[in-house]
């Protein structure tokens, strides 16, 4: 074997060495059920959980409507809550009863129509009291807005019927761009691509080098003619392929299972994803060749890649609302740029003024991280 390699030109020998490393790594992936699990089962599971399970859309919120007087005005307001698709209204007669339901969390809100409501509608200050269960603040705020809307609709109906309702007020005509249906799935599924890419890229590779260090097989590799850069390539290529498979799965599911529109080009999507995958792989390899212990590497990877991709990337929580220190931190996270790219490519289209700057940052990060990984590898070899 070595004689054969000696006869080859240096470039051909290099190719051969890389190819055999890739072959070895691929076999290792295929033989270990956990790699297949993370490459195929995990993406599928996440796609289903995200697509079907996660939703920030609020529907059928159980509320108790306390009707303290049986006037037509109060009944119509009750009907307004009953008819709203956002509420499941049950009417109760006393506040005490409503409070009991709220304490038992059988309802998420209480609407109280007081005894003097109808009298106050005609001259006075009519008041509707809304209590929301505030434990989940986001949910509570949405419920609050819907309650306001339900009362507003009632007022509009009253006005339309010629009752003395205030007219001539500013009204808001809302339009939600890029997500006309107001479906949270439309931004959750592109975010899912980010999570899967991070998982396959960083989690899996972070263990790979550390394992070779722990088992001492990396030292065995050193005595072969293989160069550090070639080891890196040999480790990167198979996982890169695995990651791209995950991407294909996600895009297919997004497009055909969940009907998320893909308004940008497939080319832009692929290019952005390849860039991000390279970064994730480089981070994984960097962590595992720095820490050389599978346990520590796994903890660090979780801390610096997966959780930030979930919480600090702008995928769930709006970045602009974070305090300055945290916001500055997010600029260091590749996931932030990738989320922006994906949300734009999926929902808005190829908006180059967004795509180019974000892609440029990712390119710089990829180059920097790959160089750093190579340095760490070389240092350990000396």
């Amino acid at each position: 074997m070595s004689a054969e390699i000696m006869e080859l030109s240096p470039a051909a020998a290099k190719r051969l060495r890389i190819a055999s490393l890739v072959r070895k790594e691929t076999r290792q992936i295929i033989r270990d059920p956990s790699s297949i699990a993370i490459g195929v089962v995990l993406p599928l599971m996440l796609i289903l959980v995200f697509g079907y399970g996660l939703s920030l859309d609020v529907k059928d919120v159980p509320v108790a409507v306390v009707v303290e007087e049986a006037s037509p005005e109060a009944m119509e307001l009750l009907a307004s809550f009953r008819l709203s698709p956002y509420f499941l209204a049950t009417s109760v007669s006393s506040m005490a009863q409503a409070e009991r339901l709220m304490l038992a969390r059988e309802v998420d809100g209480v609407v109280r129509i007081r005894q003097d409501f109808s009298r106050n509608v005609y001259g006075g200050q009519p008041e509707v009291q809304v209590l929301v269960h505030g434990t989940d603040a986001n949910h509570a705020r949405i419920v609050e807005n819907y309650a306001l809307a339900a009362v507003g609709q009632w007022a509009a109906r009253q006005a339309a019927e010629g009752k003395t309702m205030p007219a001539g007020a500013a009204t808001v005509d809302e339009r939600l761009w890029f997500n006309e249906a107001n479906e949270s799935r439309w931004f959750l599924v592109p975010g899912l691509v980010v999570l899967i890419m991070t998982l396959i890229g960083a989690m899996l590779t972070s263990l790979v080098m550390a394992r070779e260090w722990e088992h001492g097989t990396l030292e065995a590799l050193f005595v072969t003619p293989v160069r550090p850069g070639e080891i890196l390539l040999g480790k990167t290529i198979p996982y890169f392929v695995l990651g791209m498979m995950g991407l294909v799965l996600c895009v297919l599911a997004a497009r055909f299972l969940f009907d998320v529109p893909l308004r940008g080009s497939l080319a832009a999507l692929t290019a952005a994803s390849m860039l991000y995958l390279l970064i994730a792989l480089a981070i994984g390899l960097l962590i595992s060749s720095t820490f050389r212990s599978q346990f520590v590497a796994s903890q660090i990877t979780m801390l610096v890649t997966f959780l930030p991709a979930l919480m600090l990337s702008g995928f769930l929580f709006d970045l602009r609302s974070m305090p300055l220190a945290v916001r500055l931190l997010t600029y260091l996270l590749p996931a932030r740029y990738y989320v922006t790219l994906l949300q734009t490519i999926f929902l808005a289209g190829d908006v180059w003024s967004v795509l180019l700057p974000n892609a440029a940052v990712l390119t710089v990060m990829a180059a920097g991280l790959l160089l750093m990984t190579r340095r760490v590898m070389r240092k350990t070899l000396d």
């Binding site: 609050e144 001539g168 007020a169 500013a170």
Partner: protein
Amino acid sequence: MLDAVLRVIALVHKELLAILKDPRSRFSLLIPPILQCLIYGYAATYDLNDVPFAVLDRDRSAASHELLARLDGSPEFERAANFDRLADLKASIDNRRALLGIQIDEDFERKLYAGVPAEIQVLADGRNSNTAGTALGYVGAIVQQFNADWRSEHGQGSPSIEVVIRAWYNPNLETRWHMIPSLVGTLTLLQTLLLTAMSVAREREQGTFDQLLVTPYRPSEIMIGKALPSMLIGLLQATNVLLVAQLWFHIPFAGSFVVLYVVLSVFLLAAVGLGLLVSSVVATMQQAMLFSFMLMMPFALLSGLTTPISSMPRVLQWFTYINPLRYAIELVQRIYLEGTGLVQLLPEVWPLAAIAAVTLPIAAWMFRNKLT
């Protein structure tokens, strides 16, 4: 019996040493949860501030200025730009300079005086429809206030209906109050699961598990020896998160610590049971990590941490009944924010005990059958 206790104590001691002796592993167990708690306490919020909005004011009247001034004056909004053409307004949303585009037509003020509905158009960037919905809600509230004031100043019509809103348990509706108590369960489960699964897998991978087998330990003693240290470390981490919640974020604690720790212990028993179950089926540390991760993902996502359980489809809601994190989050929130007592919490505590009662014997059985 005393022998068994002494043996278990020795094993627990050895296990704690193995975990805590290495400074890197000590660091990775103690510092990350605190850091995460701090970062997510600030970051994980659905509340918005400084929402950038762009304006196309065709009216340029006193009324339109008054309305826009209210937006400028609120801490939630920040004007990013003024435009004269609709195309520019649209472009500013496209390239993310503005989250909202507000368009006021030239007859806005005239309509207001005439007493006919005066419409303003609000375009929102729906790339994250949740953020957009919240921002639109803020606009609605400001416009409502504007209307009320306008009417009382200009003596139009009867006073509008006032909707008085109060939120229980979280008066300012801060997401943080929801998030940090949830993190007590989430971070503890994550690390306890990993720690338990990895500690057995490490011994398997390094061959020291076989050595343990030739000692007089019974399989159940080995299991207890592996379970107790993880539980202790889990309690320590939960305490750290609680300290951050109270000392740093000043979220008021409404309940009883005794109840909280009793509940946490039951929860940790379930978590350790799951960890041991994972460790009994895996051969290497990589497998241990990946499998515990595959359990952790659906647990975390379908627990009510980030999205409400009531918005999930029925089938997945059923799944949440076997999810220990679902109970942990609900329990910690109810104890922490609502001050609920143990008796009312029992419906959520017994499923945790049931999970522990199922996973621990199965894990023990798997150990025994692998050992012989």
